[in-house]
Symmetry: D2
């Protein structure tokens, strides 16, 4: 098995220093799907690097069938950007743009292929789509007007992901239970990852890596379906949210790695070996039912609800404290509740919040996966 490592240039600092990401390539045995896995695109979300560490160890003893590309610490700008003690890694500190909303997808390309190559073979269509996207990315990077910092990074990561049949993007929430973004067409395979909470998402593109990876294929499948042709969605892409940000636990990461292994084995990307994973109840909801809960007022917060556990209507998510009201006769605290049953997935990382701060995200109208 050939394994190569590379330090890929994805930008340049004001001081002239190159900004680089580590890339590890396992050359497969020429069969089975190709896999691309990246971690830490949001700078504070480090746990995925520990997962990649374990995958590397596992792949050394169980060589993958298809090529695998691994990119830990995929966003050096986000990782190295501090503001106070914390990593300001979710958005570009200059522009405010989310690092995971800057990938490329042009639906017109899909429509053009569906129109011009409706009778081509699956392989021809797949090749044309990959080449078309690759050419658009190259054109963007070559523009005399330049491209923005976030895209220097995103487009170079995407070029690697574009060659894969399976794309996994390892994130975390702020303070969070493990959860998974599942494109609806891949719902049957979601359970393999061994993640308790699942959000089923449609074929829309809003700029994220998973969407950039599956949307072209999914929308091509949809466009050809309208013409009466069954065309499979040829790429699987998932975003895994592996717990809380600013937290690294390499032992825990082993279980996360095993879930990925089980999925890769199922897909034929890895040889079978024993993957001991516990049984768990897996819940899901649709994206429209994955709701944010915003603070109804300013205050200081005690987070009460247990993440990942179903919460009955009216049970408290949190208690909001108004310490400015002590002895004034005004209300000193209030419970935050919802009128419907939900499962809290994650909560805000700070105890002090303005009115309108996103305090929780919750599954609503949830069901068993």
């Amino acid at each position: 098995m050939t394994v190569t490592t590379q330090s890929l240039v994805v930008g340049q600092q004001a001081t002239g220093t190159d900004i680089t990401v580590p890339v590890i390539r396992f050359q497969g045995q020429g069969r089975g799907p190709r896999t691309y896995i990246q971690a830490n695109v949001h700078g504070a979300e480090v746990q995925g690097n520990g997962v990649i560490h374990h995958l590397v160890q596992l792949f050394k003893t169980h060589p993958p069938f298809g090529d695998v590309v691994l990119v830990p610490m995929a966003n050096p700008l986000g990782i190295n950007q501090k503001s106070g003690e914390f990593t300001l890694g979710r958005f570009d500190p200059v522009s405010g743009e989310n690092w995971n909303r800057q990938y490329h997808f042009d639906p017109a390309l899909v429509q053009q292929l569906a129109r011009d190559m409706a009778d081509a073979s699956e392989q021809e269509l797949a090749q044309a789509l990959r080449q078309g996207i690759a050419r658009q990315i190259e054109d963007k990077l070559a523009s005399p007007f330049g491209v923005k910092s976030g895209q220097h990074l995103a487009l170079r990561l995407q070029k690697m992901a574009l060659e894969a049949d399976i794309v996994l993007d390892l994130h975390t929430g702020p303070i969070s239970a493990r959860h998974l973004y599942v494109p609806e067409y891949a719902r049957e395979r979601a359970h393999l990852f061994n993640i308790p909470l699942n959000i089923l998402i449609p074929s829309d593109f809003a700029g994220a890596m998973d969407e950039a990876s599956f949307s072209p294929w999914w929308q091509l499948s949809e466009a050809l379906a309208k013409q009466g042709r069954a065309f499979p969605v040829m790429v699987d892409a998932f975003t895994l949210e592996l717990g809380s940000q600013e937290y690294l636990n390499v032992e825990d990461a082993y279980r996360d790695a095993l879930g990925i292994v089980r999925y890769l084995q199922h897909r034929g990307a890895l040889p079978k070996f024993d993957v001991p994973l516990p049984e768990m109840t897996q819940y899901a909801c649709y994206l429209d039912d994955y709701r944010a809960v915003y603070s109804p007022c300013g205050g200081q917060i005690e987070y009460l609800a247990t993440l990942g556990q179903p919460l009955a209507p009216g049970e408290p998510l949190a208690r909001v404290w108004h310490f400015d009201a002590l002895m004034t006769g005004d209300r000193e605290s209030r419970e935050l509740t919802l009128p419907e049953a939900v499962i809290p997935v994650l909560h805000f990382a700070s105890a002090s919040v303005r009115q309108g701060t996103e305090l929780f995200k919750v599954l609503s109208h949830h069901f068993l996966l």
Copy 2:
């Protein structure tokens, strides 16, 4: 003439302090269009407050025909948020969301009105549209899931703007020449503002106040046009970019105020009085031709091009310095040029830039307004 002032609550701090904006209402004489003007929604963009100061003085001696609502310092969260010496006022420091991308517009409402009320009078349609939007805003604010901080502010500003026939949003660029966003339908009136550079924008909605104000009316006009009915765009909305951020010059603001006065007089919102404004050449381009220029590399920047002046192809916009290359034999500096003629409108505020930093915005394929 009745003038009232109010301190409108638009949010609450973690400490319990209300977040408020000042609102000044001139009650008009019951004729002429109603006007809404706000300034400083981006926290560092202060010059519009000086303009409102002058408008107040002018309105006292020249009472408006229609009601006027003025909101200076419209975003206290943005204005009061510092990071280092500068105001971090462009986006919410928690979420990274642009403060001027959080207004509300639901195109389905327009489609429903065009379908259900195609034969109603202009006045009935206008009333139904205003009421429909107002109801949606109230529903959002009343959600048991809450609404995000930026929308607590934006929706309350929008409720006031929704009652107006003319909406002006006063901004600035970073380091910038004066420029104006003009909805294409209002192109003939753009010159009245006395602003040299103009960007013609379509009816799309991306979350900004001007779009939130004109898109419903414009899209209703378009929808009814498809049914063969001519329906005027009943609301004018413009974003004025009055020079550079972090810079207040109240004397200069008088000229900006006079341009607005000339426009309001033309619209019948103000009585005629002499408005001495100089002649100027006014350029314009379409939004797709209003281009960002991103730095091709990291480095330190000398900004060379004069803002607002046409620049020939190949003439330098800036010089990028690589002081890490002194005596190394590598290139110590390079000129940044474009292969086509442009007019530089604004440039970045800092001298140190990463690769991909938005260095300039330029008019391209420009023409006389």
Copy 3:
């Protein structure tokens, strides 16, 4: 018992909004020492507010003998200042100055009193010292050159603290075990707070509230001792570090409140009532032995040592991961150890660190309190 509340103005925002702190005053029975307690001067350190909540409840049923002034959420600027999801509450975001290093102390005043009033009564000296400091604070606030933001706050808090005989400043660490800063002269009373880790500090002044409160009295005592006169240190001041920042647990805060109650009872500030507190081992070290441990390299961190537990020489504090080194042959991780026995007190809040980041603070050369 008379209890009054006040909203004390301590500054003004750019938008003109007053910056205020809540002040709760319990009028005592005219005997026993006067007490001043504040919390949350560092914006992310919220737990002390929960303690003040419980003290208020306890004082209502057990009226204090002496006056008590309570100031929760004592730094609105720090509490409301976010950067990303977290509260940037440790230092002024404009100047970088620590909010708890801006109190006032002029040693020359102490030297002057020791010289000019060496034969005055204790009461006369105490009054002269209080009046002298109060006058200096007033003079600062009245300077035509103004005073900096942090001092507008600090000096107004200090004016209240100056009237007290006991000053408690409630803080937290980043991720932290409970610990206490104890002026050496008060060592015997430290155990009453029921805090396991204690740092014994000298009479130096570096700008903090505790120092500003005890240094004048302590240095006066030292100066008079040189002249052969025994003069007691008449003010006790402590900084309590009540666990981790960005974390509010009001139930836990009850135990913290009981420790304070036990101390206040011992000092005669509160009537005796049963205070059920568990036995614990209490460790201490001198300030020079309270050491920071800086990261020897950049990397991502697994924090391994249990806070508050003695750690043998060579036992790992943390593991530093270099995920850029996967499969390169370079070292993928290293343990961080120390050559001597320590007790880890707190650790850094983020998992990604530059070389030289303060990873831990530890007691060294520690002993039983």
Copy 4:
């Protein structure tokens, strides 16, 4: 003439990337004092890099007599740290510590040398002092407890500066006229730099590079003077403030370079050649009279006074606007004045300020240099 360049490692990012500074060494002709010049230690203060660019050109045609070490872009962490559009380069974003307050000086070493080597030759004393400081720096860097990020940088820069007889640290103010920090013993030489405003500073050490460079020599001179021995201050060190931050003008930098050349020629470090510099009036004051002016209230600011020009008592420095007061009857603006004559040196970079923001720094009780 031998010229070498080096990329000196001064730290490591979380991602494992080395943090480096460029170092350019001109080997002199073995006579004349040795010179160390650095620029851009505060990340936003870039103009000094342009000066070093010109010095490099001048030294190529006029080889220095003594060794010269040049360090442009001396603080990569500060230069590359953005927050919003601006460089957050004045203090460490994690700790809040000023990058230019982290150099090393231990006065005990000076006292020891004055005691133990009072009769040694000048050369022996100089060597012992340099070796002593170098050893202390090495010991710090080798501590098993590590050293903080800012010191990883500062101590490595200081090791280079320690070998020089002349140390120049090139800074800028926020919005600023050119000014110079002059140690009092070097007052006669200050005029050579051709800088209009000069601040005379004492031998105290507060952590800055200039102080770290001259304090040991100056305090040694003072200590030996007390013993009756005349010992010259053997090192000259100055901080040059070359205009405004975030602004690079390489043409202007030529004049700044010529002032340095004139000083170096006078000191015998460079051969004589014609240095055409204009006459100017040069003012000075003592450090205690270099006063900050803090905003008396919150508001938005028009900066009125011309930097570098004497201002009579009562003449306005700025106008503070309260746009929240429009039409309320409250004061809409106020002038900021001082009761005494001053020369404004610099002002704050933003137009929106809290009460207590440092608006201006001014020379007071000034005189001709």
